[in-house]
Symmetry: D2
Subunit: 362 residues, 4 copies
C-alpha cells in the first residue's frame, strides 16, 4: 500500500524517475468542481527544476495529461488520473550506482527491500521526481479548498542555518499565503533570502549541499475538523509529509520548542471575539486533541541536505564483497538545496490532507 | 476511523476517562505466540500514575482483563481484546469544565467536533488515560518482537530544557534498551535525572508544568522493512505517535538538526563489516527512503508541558456568550511533567508499528 | 484485518465462543444520537437461542454492557464499545473435536490457518455466537437510520425448500418491515410458516438440519447513495454478509433469476410520479451501478443447513495420521435450522452498511 | 474510495468510456516477477469486443502502455501503472441520453450521485469498458499465481436459461482451467454452446438481450488462506465481483441450492489421502469459515441481460419535468449477451483477490 494514501480522497502515485512516465490518480474528489489547469501548471512550475537560479539548470517542462475525471474543466466525480511523461533523462549518469549505493539515498535499502529488482535509475520510485504528481494532486485540491475559504502557503523558515522571520501564528493571512505561494523563493524577511542564497552558492561551489526547514500555514479552516487519536490533523499530515523525500522531522505549533516551555507559557488562553471563540496566542498551531481550533494551522518540516553531492564519498561495492569500502563520486546535476522546490510539495501535501479532512463523503 | 489504526495489526482503542471502562482490540496478531502477562503488567505499571515520585499520587492499579484472543497463555489468532475498568475517579473535579474549556486541552475542539455530545469528564476520549490500552497493546507486541530479536527502549532526552546524554546512534544495544525500559525514570546520564527532578519539582511548587523530549530506539530490525512514499517507517510511526496526547513533534535520526548540516556532514558512508553492509555513522536514524537500513532506528518525540496546571488561566464561558473571557483554575491532581510516564507509551506505539511492519500476513 | 470492517463506521468484533466474553467496538458513529437500549435488547433477543420454539432450548440471556461511547443515553462520538459475557457453556460437548474436525465447520481450516493455536471450543472466533455483537452493533445503527427515515426488515423467503411469498419489490413499506422485524419467525404468508416448521421438526427428528434463504429489504433510502466499482451498495453489503456463518450466496433484485431473463423483461422503465423519478417495476432491487435509485433495496442471502447435526458423519483424526477416516457424532444442542435466528443478523449487517454509506464524515 | 480496492495488492482503476484513456495502478505487487506481456494481451483480447462472433463487431484493439513498475520484463515492486487509450468512440450515439436515462443503466443514479457533473458519454466511469484495466490487472496477477501453482478458469455455466455442464467440484483440474481460459466462448459441454448461440442470436434479431451465469474455479490453492468474519475468501471476492457491471448475484460451492439441502446432504466428509486431509465431496466450494480448505475454489456469478437494447423502452426526460414518461430507443452497437466477454473479467477479479490473499507482505 506504499504509494496509496487517504481516507475520503484517495491518492495513488506511480512512476519511476527514468521509466516511461509518472502520474497520479485521485479518487473521491467532489464532482462538479471547476479546475483551472493554468493554476495547476503554475504550482507545478514552482516545483520544476531550473525555475529559480538556486536550482539545477535542468528543465523538465512537465505538462500533466489528464486522462479521466475531468469534463469541460470540471471534476466528474470519477477518479482523476494524470500522467507526466519522462524525458530529458540521462541514464548514463547513474549507471555505476547499480552496484555502489549512494550514501543518504534509498539505493541500498530499496535494493534489499525489492531483492534487487527495483528500478535503480535515478532512484526509481524513490526519486524526488515523484513529487511532481504530488504537486499536481495538491494543486487540484487547493483550488477546491480555496472555494471553501481555506488557503495554504509556506516559506523557507531556515536554510543552512539562516533563519527567515517566522509566520505570526495569529495574524498570518490569506493574502500573505497567496502571495508566498506564487513565488519561487518565498521568504518573509527579504534579507534572509540573500543570506540563504549565499549559503546555497557556497555549498554548490564546494560540491556540497545544504538543508532547511519549511514552515507551512493554512488559514480559513473551521473549528472541529479532525479526530482524536489516530486520525488527528497532525497524524494525517505527518502520514503524507514523511513520504516527501528528505523529510526528517515534522512539528506543529511551538513544536520541539514547546518541550522547553512551562505550561503557563505554552497554553493559549481562549477569548470570545465578535461572537467567535478563538485563542489569544497560537502556540498550539491550530490543533488541539487532533481537531482544528479555528486558529491558523501551523507546522514545520525539516529537510536534510540533498544527499546527491559531487564530493567524493565512501560506499560499498555490492558486486565486490571482498572490498569493505570503495570511493564514490556522484555525477549528474543536483540542487545544492532542495528547500525552494520543496515548498510547493509541502503545500500540496497539506492541500490533499485538508481536502480529505473537510470533504463530506458517502 | 479516529481510534482504529493499522494495516496488518489492527488496533482499536476505546473508552472515556470517567466512563465504565477503557480497552483495546488487537486484530491480526500472529497465532501461537506466548504472552507473559506479568511482563505486560510491568509495562503498564511504568505508565501508571504514582509510580515515580515525580508524578501524581493517584494510583490506578490498572489490571487489564483479557476477553478474547488468548488461550493458555498463547495468542489464538483471533482478535485480542482487553478491558481496563475505570475507578477512583472524581468527576466533581471536572464539573465546571463543561462550560469553561481548559486552555491547551481538547475541551473546546471536542465540543465543536461532537456538537456538545462528547463526554467531557476528565477529557473523555481525549484523556491521557487512553494511553493505558495503548501500552497494553504495545506490551503484547514487544514480546513478539523480542522473539524476532527486535528490542525497543527510550529515555528522557530532555525535560524542561535539561538535556540527557543522547543515544549513541551506532552502538546503542539491546542490553541498554532493556535496562532503560524497566526503569520509571530512564536517563542515560544519571546527573541529568537529578537536574530534571529539580525542574519538575520547581514547576510543581509554582502550580505549573514542564515539557520534554523522548528519544526512542529500536535495535535488531533487519534491513528492508518498510516502503517508499506513504508507508515508510517514518510515516507509520508518526501516524500513531501524533495520537499520543501532548505530542507536538516527531523527528528521525538527525531530525531538525539535519536542516543545518551540509550533505557531506549528514550522509552516512556505507561499509562492509563481517560480510554485512552497514553505515559508519547513523545520522539517517536507521531509515532511508522509508525502509530500514539495519542500523538502529532512532527517533525523538516532543511533548508539550502538561496543559493541566493549577495556576489561574483565562478562558471563555460557553454558556455565557456575553462575557469575552473568564478566569479558570483547574483543580485536581496532575503530573507537573508527563514525560516519565510518556516513555512507555512511545515505546508501545513503536512496538505496535514495528510488529505491523514485520508481520507477514495473509 | 479479519474482524474489522468499515469505511466511516468502523466495526471491530472480538471474542470466542467459550472465552470470557465477546463484544464489539463501533467507531465513527455520529455524536448526540439517542439510543434506546430496550430496543437494542429486543433485536438481540430475536437472535438469542431458545426464543422461538424452532430453535435450541439454550437461553443465553445476553445483556451487553456498554463500556464507552454513550453518555446519558446518547452517543458521544467516541468509539462505542460493548461486552457480552459468556456463560452457560459446556466445553465438554466439544472436547473431542480438537482432533476430529466437524464436517461443514471451520475446525479444520481454522486449525491450518492458525497452526493449531486457535481456540477450538465451540468453534472459537468462527462461532455463530459472534453474531451477537453484530446484532448489537446493527441495533444501534438501525435506530440512527430510522431517524433518517430508513427502515430495514426481512423474512424467511424459503426454508427447506418451502417458499414464503416474496416482498413486493415496489410496494414493500416501512410498516410491513417494522412489523416483520419484531417477530421471532417472520414470514409474509402465514401458511408458509406452518410448512416450514413441519420441515424443521422433521429434520430435528431425523438428527439432521435444513437451510434457507433470507430476503431483506430497506425502504426510505434516498437516490444517490453508494459509488461505482468497488464501493457499490452491493459490494459493501456482500463484504459483511459473507462474514455471517453459513452464508453461501448473496443476490440483489432479480438476482440469479435475472440471468434467465431478456433485457426487455429485466430493465425497469423510469417514470416521474409526483415530481419524483422512480421505476415502474423494481427488478434492479434499488441499486443501479452500485448507487441507490430511491426504490426499495432488496437482496437475498442463502444459508446452508446447520453443519452441526447429530447424525453420524465421517472425518479425519488429526492426531492419528494412519487412519484415513473415523466416524464422528456431534453432540450438543444445535438449531436444526438457523434461518429464524439469522434474520436479525442479516438486518443488522444491512443497518451497519447503510449507516456507513449514509453518514457524512470528516 | 469507489475505484480503489485491496489490502496488500492495491488496485486503482480510472477512466471514462469516452474520455482520453482508461487505466489501472497496481500497488504492492511482489518485486522481480517476470510478466509475459503477450499473455496479458491474450487475456485482454478475450474481453475485447468483436473477438467472438456472438459479440458486437466493434474492435477496440486495446494495447496497454505500461508506465511504471516494470523493468526488462520484471516487476520492480513499485506501483505498476498501465494506460489504455480510448479511440473509435462515437459520442453521437449517446448524445440524447444526457437527458433520458437508459433503463437498467447507471445514467440516472450517477446523475443524482454526482449532481449532474458525471461524464455521461457511454456510461462514463460506469461503462463496461472499465473492465479492460481490470482484466489487465488480473492478467498480471494470474501469472504470479501460476508460479505458485494456482490456476483460474471459468465457463458459461448458463446463458439465457441454457445450462452448460457444471464443473466437477472435486476433479476440476489445472489443465481443464487452462484450456477454458484460452477460449473465446468457453463451455464444458460443446452442445451447450450451440444452444446458447441460438438464444443469443434470437435475442439479437428481436433487438433484445440475454443474461447468464459464469462459473469460476481456482485450483492449487493451499489450505489456510483467508480469515474469519469480514476478510473471508468469499467477502473479498464478492467485494470486487459486485464491481463488475451487470453482476446481480454471487454464490460459493452449492450456493443458493444449499438452502434446500439437509445438513447430511451438504456437509462434506473429511478423509486423509496420501497424507493430505481433503474432503470427499466439495459442496463447500473450497472455503470453510472464510478460509480455504485446499479443495478447488468454486463460485458462480449471475449477470443480468445487457441493459442496452434497441427495443423501444420508456424513461423520463430529466429536462422536461412536465412529462411523466417518454419513449427511448438506444442506438449504438451492443452485445446481446455479455457473458462470453465477462468470463475473463471474472477470472481477472479472482486472480487479483487470490494474489492479494496469498501475498506475504511487509
Amino acid at each position: 500500500m506504499a504509494s496509496t494514501w487517504g481516507n475520503h480522497i484517495k491518492l495513488s502515485i506511480f512512476g519511476e524517475s527514468h521509466g516511461p512516465a509518472i502520474g497520479a490518480v485521485l479518487d473521491g474528489l467532489p464532482a462538479g468542481e471547476a479546475i483551472d489547469l493554468e493554476e495547476v501548471l503554475l504550482q507545478m512550475k514552482r516545483r520544476a527544476p531550473g525555475q529559480d537560479r538556486s536550482s539545477t539548470p535542468r528543465r523538465e517542462g512537465d505538462v500533466p495529461r489528464i486522462l479521466s475525471g475531468m469534463l469541460e474543466g470540471h471534476t466528474t466525480g470519477a477518479p482523476l488520473a494524470a500522467v507526466i511523461e519522462n524525458h530529458n533523462t540521462r541514464s548514463g549518469d547513474y549507471a555505476n550506482l547499480l552496484a555502489k549505493p549512494r550514501p543518504g539515498h534509498a539505493d541500498f535499502t530499496g535494493n534489499v527491500r525489492y531483492h534487487g529488482a527495483n528500478d535503480p535509475r535515478g532512484g526509481g520510485h524513490f526519486s524526488g521526481r515523484l513529487t511532481a504528481p504530488l504537486v499536481f494532486a495538491g494543486a487540484v485540491c487547493r483550488q477546491i479548498l480555496a472555494r471553501k475559504g481555506i488557503v495554504i502557503g509556506s516559506h523557507a523558515y531556515a536554510i543552512a542555518g539562516v533563519a527567515d522571520a517566522p509566520f505570526d501564528p495569529v495574524t498570518v493571512s490569506k493574502e500573505q499565503l497567496c502571495d508566498l505561494s506564487k513565488r519561487s523563493f518565498p521568504v518573509i524577511n527579504p534579507k534572509a533570502e540573500d543570506k540563504m542564497r549565499v549559503e546555497i552558492e557556497r555549498a554548490r561551489l564546494s560540491c556540497d549541499s545544504v538543508g532547511g526547514i519549511v514552515e507551512c500555514a493554512a488559514v480559513g479552516l473551521p473549528a472541529g475538523i479532525g479526530s482524536p487519536m489516530f486520525d488527528g490533523v497532525e497524524n494525517r499530515l505527518a502520514s503524507i509529509l514523511f513520504g516527501i523525500p528528505a523529510v526528517r522531522g515534522v512539528e506543529f505549533g511551538a513544536g520541539f520548542a514547546a518541550a522547553s516551555l512551562r505550561g503557563s507559557e505554552h497554553n493559549d488562553a481562549f477569548v470570545r471575539e465578535n461572537g467567535q471563540v478563538r485563542t489569544v496566542t497560537n502556540r498550539h498551531g491550530g490543533v488541539l486533541g487532533g481537531i482544528t481550533s479555528g486558529m491558523p494551522l501551523l507546522f514545520r518540516v525539516a529537510f536534510k541536505p540533498t544527499p546527491s553531492i559531487s564530493k567524493e564519498q565512501a560506499t560499498v561495492d555490492l558486486q565486490n564483497p571482498e572490498v569493505p569500502q570503495v570511493p564514490l563520486t556522484v555525477v549528474g546535476r543536483h540542487d545544492p538545496c532542495i528547500v525552494p522546490r520543496a515548498l510547493p510539495v509541502v503545500e500540496a501535501a497539506a492541500a490533499i490532507v485538508l481536502l480529505d479532512l473537510t470533504t463530506d463523503c458517502q
